[in-house]
């Protein structure tokens, strides 16, 4: 399946500095050919890459504003994080008015839907069976992180749509109620603080189409609204959230709204990962609900916001305190009526993305895993990123899975591919046999010779021409003639591969001629690969 994602790279700006590869939480970026390359299926659109990019090469692919003109009615879905972008004198009502001047037919307060979510969560926890701790479905980057890296925790996510989907659903239904019949198409557009939401709208989890018709970058809309802001113009909307819904913009707000103490709020994608680890380790069973936000500070810290997140946080806190109310704006009856109808529930389940699998078959994956571990032994473990992979481990995996060329490590002693006979380390035949698990069929003195090369052939004439003293000869041949060839060429040992057993006459002849014979179940191909790794370490 093709995965859509909204974080994009402007190749002309990228200089391949490797800053982004180090911060990517799913290790989705590599540097090759002096520029970053993103592995589409692993990207969760958290936007960490653009925060660290000095070249501003990363950007989010949101919709152009003209998209709203495709609809007869365009509704702006405004999250509470948007209000926090403006100075303390600007009230949400001013913003509503300015948005209309920008060209939206109507404005819907997304925080209002968040209050509906709060009520729906409570009903869910009361009426359904669930496993603690529940994880909030609100942050799209966190949901995708679970799909990619923590598939086993997907069952912990509250199986509800995100508050933005609910908001769009509510907005559209509202709008249908009052629209006159000449309005054919109603479009909902979210003013997004993050690229992850853009993706969640284009490709919602569960497969169904999104209720949201487009997403505009908060930083783009900010400028337009700023120009239209007028202290004398403010417009009330009747479905405006109270302080509780507004507080969802900062981390802790959603958790707080549940009114129970057994909640945990964590923000910043790397901090989120540490908490997910704890859940994986079987901890946190005493916590009922986890609010996890990919951005530090919550949505006010989104990569597409304009204001400093710490300042935005204060603004958001002041606004929510100012609008604090005894009960939520959404009537409890409305939720009680709609919740049982499945209004909030996700249409399907959230599927894992099996992108970390090393191979299509278990055997292949095990084989690769083992090789990866072996290669890892040769790497320095500095995780410097100079090879273009974020860590030594990912580099080893990339090489073994054929996604990176070998020899890119600046510290690993380079394997010289110009001469197959050139020896890099000192090791005897016997030591090699022990390391690679070869069985010794005929043990003679030559096993203690140093190995200085290898010849891999089943044609005796070829071996005569290429094998030299000190080589290991890898073959599937088992008849007595091989002993003669071995003693003429002076190879240290014959290694018989693919689980072939040397004939008795061969063994007898080898003993009398002082030729060593080793046996392995592995194939010539595999043996050659492993020998090379050791001899050229």
């Amino acid at each position: 399946m093709q995965y859509y994602h909204s974080v994009r790279l402007d190749v002309s700006r990228c200089i391949g500095c490797t800053r982004c590869i180090k911060v990517c939480p799913t290790e989705a970026i590599r540097v090759t050919g002096r520029r970053s390359v993103i592995m589409e299926d692993r990207c969760i659109d958290c936007g960490e890459c653009f925060r660290v990019c000095h070249q501003h090469a990363w950007y989010a692919m949101a919709d152009p504003l003209e998209r709203k003109d495709d609809f007869d009615i365009s509704i702006a879905l405004v999250p509470p994080s948007f209000y926090a972008q403006f100075g303390p004198e600007v009230e949400p009502e001013h913003v509503v008015s300015a948005l209309k001047s920008v060209g939206f037919t109507d404005v819907f307060d997304a925080a209002y839907a968040k209050e509906a979510m709060t009520r729906a969560y409570r009903m869910f926890m009361k009426t359904e069976k669930w496993e603690a701790p529940l994880i909030s479905p609100a942050c799209p980057a966190v949901v995708r992180l679970l799909q990619v890296s923590y598939p086993d925790l997907l069952g912990h996510i509250v199986p509800m749509d995100s508050p933005i989907e609910i908001a769009a659903k509510m907005a559209k239904q509202e709008s249908d109620a009052w629209s006159d019949c000449s309005f054919r198409r109603v479009g909902c557009f979210f003013i997004t603080p993050c690229p992850a939401r853009v993706t969640a709208i284009k490709q919602p989890v569960g497969g169904r189409r999104s209720y949201v018709d487009g997403a505009f970058s908060m930083s783009d809309i900010f400028g337009l609204v700023l120009k239209k802001l007028d202290p004398r113009k403010s417009e009330k909307i009747d479905k405006m959230a109270t302080g509780s819904g507004i507080s969802w913009a900062r981390s802790g707000g959603e958790a707080l709204s549940l009114g129970t103490k057994k909640v945990l709020a964590v923000d910043g994608i790397h901090a989120v990962i540490t908490v997910l680890h704890e859940i994986e380790r079987g901890k946190l069973r005493d916590i009922e609900f986890i609010e996890a936000r990919a951005c530090t500070g919550g949505c006010i810290g989104g990569p597409l916001t304009v204001e400093n997140p710490f300042i935005a946080r204060v603004r958001n806190r002041m606004l929510s305190e100012h609008r604090r109310a005894k009960s939520l704006a959404v009537p409890v009856e409305w939720v009680e009526e709609n919740y049982p109808k499945g209004y909030f529930h996700l249409a399907g389940t959230i599927p894992p993305r099996d992108v970390l699998r090393m191979d299509s078959t278990i055997e292949g994956a095990l084989d690769r895993f083992e090789r990866m571990e072996a290669l890892l032994q040769e790497l320095p473990g500095y995780d410097c990123g100079a090879c273009g992979s974020p860590t030594c481990r990912t580099y080893a995996q990339d090489v073994i899975c054929g996604q990176a060329a070998e020899g890119r490590c600046a510290f690993q002693s380079q394997a010289d591919s110009s001469d197959s006979g050139e020896r890099k380390i000192r090791i005897t035949c016997r030591q090699l046999a022990e390391r690679l698990g070869f069985e010794i069929a005929v043990d003679s003195e030559s096993l203690d010779d140093e190995v200085n090369g290898c010849c891999c052939s089943d044609m005796l004439s070829d071996v005569m021409a290429t094998a030299r003293r000190g080589y290991i000869w890898v073959t599937v041949q088992t008849h007595p003639n091989i002993v003669a060839v071995a003693s003429v060429t002076g190879v240290s040992a014959i290694l018989i591969t693919s689980d072939r057993k040397p004939e008795d006459r061969t063994l007898v002849s080898a003993r009398t001629h002082g030729v060593s014979i080793l046996v392995t179940t592995k194939s010539s191909f595999e043996v050659a690969g492993r020998l090379w790794s050791i001899l050229n370490q």
Partner: protein
């Protein structure tokens, strides 16, 4: 076949659970079925914690085959005087400090047995304990 060896130290709660999590991750990466992965991870996790809680030090060895996973935990510790009793659900000698951390419900060994297709345990008082679990695919 791949072998992974983890050293585990008694009372080292800061790292407790690491083995289970790593085993889960690796089996997932290799592509084992969800259920097999879960069972192997649970078994590895409980074995690791038994060493952390009850023994001085030990080793958890995980061998991965295409047909299944074998987990062997071997420790140096006080050993188990009455294995039959230890295998009972809810039986635990874990100290109260450990309960507070959410461990020591006495369900560990029964859990390992439940998750395993093959389960072996032997112990020598004053020396240590050996537990082997095999989780097979399909």
């Amino acid at each position: 076949m791949t072998t992974l060896t983890f050293r585990v130290r008694g009372m080292d709660f800061s790292n407790a659970g690491e083995v289970g999590a790593k085993v889960k991750r690796i089996l997932h990466q290799i592509g084992f079925e969800r259920e097999v992965t879960r069972r192997a991870a649970v078994a590895a996790y409980e074995m690791e914690l038994n060493i952390v809680i009850h023994a001085y030090e030990g080793e958890v060895k995980v061998r991965i085959f295409d047909t299944g996973v074998e987990i062997i935990a071997e420790d140096r510790g006080p050993g188990i005087p009455d294995i039959e009793l230890a295998m009972q659900e809810g039986y635990s000698t874990a100290p109260p400090e450990v309960w507070k951390m959410g461990f020591g419900a006495g369900m560990g060994l029964p859990n390992i047995r439940k998750c395993s297709d093959i389960f072996e345990i032997s112990s020598e008082v004053g020396k240590g304990t050996y537990v082997r679990s095999v989780v097979l695919r399909g």
